[in-house]
């Protein structure tokens, strides 16, 4: 089933002097069951794009298909709740959404809203809190007295507990320490591989794109200008140059080797295969 945008445009504050067209005729078809990284410079429209997926924003023009649902311009969406159960969206700064007295209650909030039995909700919520790396001692603490990064983990657990089929993450690890962000990214990969969840991640971190994604979608000035696989993306120097993206370290190493006259054959996007190739080339 498709997750696709057809000629989707979105204008903020339409018909006022402050009108701003943040999306301009976007066409894109996200592959189900994959991890897609959405990249693009600040203000290019990534957040606007992903907020269409669970109908937080409705297109000003065009059409969106999410699984078996269609969202069209100027037509109210029926049964929003079931759509939002299918598409879980973690916000760019999710730490602002916490409000319950205890962390456990806050994580349960989503599942309970979607009609899951209290006992079951508590069970899932505890499970998700452990998954994001918060142990039992946190369950009964107030979410308001956590650090920014811990709040973010709670917020992510709150969406995971809804158990959506499509998981949309808007810069989920920005501001987390390297260990936590690595663990978090690995968790997303695990959810994808084990439970076959479709995952869309907005990120500025090229190392993450390289290490964890399958596909790459590039947003620029309100349009999707590229949708390629990760390998194509990083093998193509032109794209990297054109987008002024500082490539990940491995790509840099390859470029340096090339400059020194050592040309490697084939694709090497992880450390192991790169070292193997270098060993082969030099010996």
């Amino acid at each position: 089933m498709p997750i696709s945008f057809k000629e989707v445009s979105y204008t903020y504050s339409p018909k006022t002097p402050f009108a701003y067209e943040a999306l301009k005729g976007v066409n894109v078809n996200f592959t189900e069951g994959k991890i897609t990284a959405i990249i693009g410079s600040t203000g290019s429209g990534k957040t606007t794009l992903v907020q269409h997926l669970n109908a937080l924003l409705l297109p000003s023009a065009g059409e969106i298909e999410v699984l078996d649902r269609k969202i069209k311009a100027n037509i109210p969406v029926k049964d929003l709740k079931s759509l939002r159960k299918m598409v879980g969206l973690v916000f760019q700064f999710p730490e602002y959404q916490l409000f319950e007295e205890t962390i456990l209650k806050d994580v349960c909030f989503g599942p309970l809203n979607f009609g899951i039995e209290p006992q079951e909700a508590i069970k899932i919520s505890k499970e998700m809190l452990r998954l994001v790396g918060l142990d039992e001692s946190y369950d009964e603490r107030s979410p308001l007295e956590l650090s920014g990064g811990q709040k973010r983990k709670v917020a992510i657990a709150g969406i995971l507990a809804i158990n959506p089929q499509i998981l949309v993450l808007d810069e989920p690890v920005a501001g987390l320490d390297p260990q936590s962000s690595k663990a978090m990214m690995k968790l997303f990969v695990e959810l994808n591989r084990r439970y076959n969840k479709t995952i869309l991640i907005v990120t500025h971190n090229m190392e993450h794109v390289l290490a964890y994604s399958d596909d790459v979608v590039v947003v620029d000035q309100g349009s999707v200008i590229r949708h390629v696989t990760k390998d194509e993306f990083f093998m193509d120097d032109d794209i990297l140059n054109e987008l002024k993206i500082a490539p990940p370290a491995i790509i840099n190493v390859k470029a340096m080797l090339k400059a020194k006259g050592i040309e490697l054959k084939g694709h090497h996007l992880d450390l192991e295969s790169l070292t193997d190739a270098i060993v082969k080339e030099i010996w």
Binding site: L89, Q97, F99
Partner: protein
């Protein structure tokens, strides 16, 4: 939320936009006083013409003004209903569902309606053509003479300008939290009473938390930069009154005086 027109600044470079904010505030005050002078039908006609003139000079669309009026329509309708039911002067015009509606009630209601509309139109012209910051500078200056009576003019102005500054931020914040909670299955429109309460709480609590956080951050930032409320401060933006300001003020004062004259004669 995007459609809020009441109190919104519309950028422009028209004559009205360029007037000194103090002059604009004074003119508005005089016109508001003029509305309450019982100068009868002609009085309101004069003020209406002046307002329309100012609107067209400021290049504001009538539609914008109607939008500004919309939020208070309900209040007006309530006022009118109460008036029609309570006032019993003049003669009975019609009997409606057993209620006798008097001519006095109709007049009274019309007067209230016209006054309210004019008041809103005039204040809208002020707020739509004056940057909030200029507005507070103007208020501060106009309050300056009262400082010797212990009116904290500067503090009031600072409080107003901070409040104004954070209105858009608060709206944005509210929208963001609404979206975040909607993603977690909150539905503000449907659901049982208990669910609605929970939905509103899920909005209010984060809003309060972040507002307090923001207030604290702002206070710290201000202190870190050496802000002392009652210290004497210089200003980057200097206001000055020139010929066009004087003419406008004179014009408004003439209207006020004229209306008082009319009121005395009738």
């Amino acid at each position: 939320m995007d459609s809020i027109a009441l109190g919104r600044y519309i950028p422009g470079t028209t004559l009205i936009h360029r007037l000194d904010p103090r002059i604009k505030i004074l003119s508005m005050l005089f016109l508001l006083i003029a509305i309450f002078i019982p100068a009868g039908f002609y009085g309101y006609l004069v003020i209406t013409i002046v307002s329309l003139l100012a609107l067209s000079l400021a290049k504001l669309r009538i539609g914008f003004v109607f939008k500004a009026l919309r939020p208070i329509m309900i209040m007006m309708i309530m006022l009118m209903v109460i008036n029609v039911l309570v006032v019993k002067t003049g003669y009975v015009i019609i009997t409606f569902l057993g209620f006798e509606i008097y001519s006095g009630a109709i007049y009274q209601t019309l007067y209230i309606f016209i006054r309210l509309v004019l008041m809103i139109v005039i204040t809208t012209i002020l707020t739509a053509t004056t940057k909030p910051l200029e507005l507070t500078l103007g208020i501060e200056d106009l309050l300056a003479p009262f400082v010797r009576f212990k009116v904290p003019a500067h503090e009031i102005a600072m409080m107003i300008s901070i409040a104004i500054r954070f209105i858009p931020t608060l709206i944005e914040e509210t929208q963001r939290i609404m979206k975040a909670q909607a993603s977690r299955g909150v539905d503000l429109k449907e659901g049982k009473f208990k669910e609605k309460i929970a939905a509103i709480l899920s909005l209010i609590v984060p809003l309060f938390v972040s507002s307090f956080q923001r207030a604290e951050d702002l206070a710290n930032a201000m202190e870190a930069r050496g802000y002392v409320p009652d210290a004497k401060r210089t200003r980057y933006k200097q206001l000055h009154v020139d010929t066009k300001d004087r003419i406008i003020l004179l014009f408004v004062i003439l209207i006020l005086v004229g209306l008082i004259k009319i009121a005395i004669f009738i």
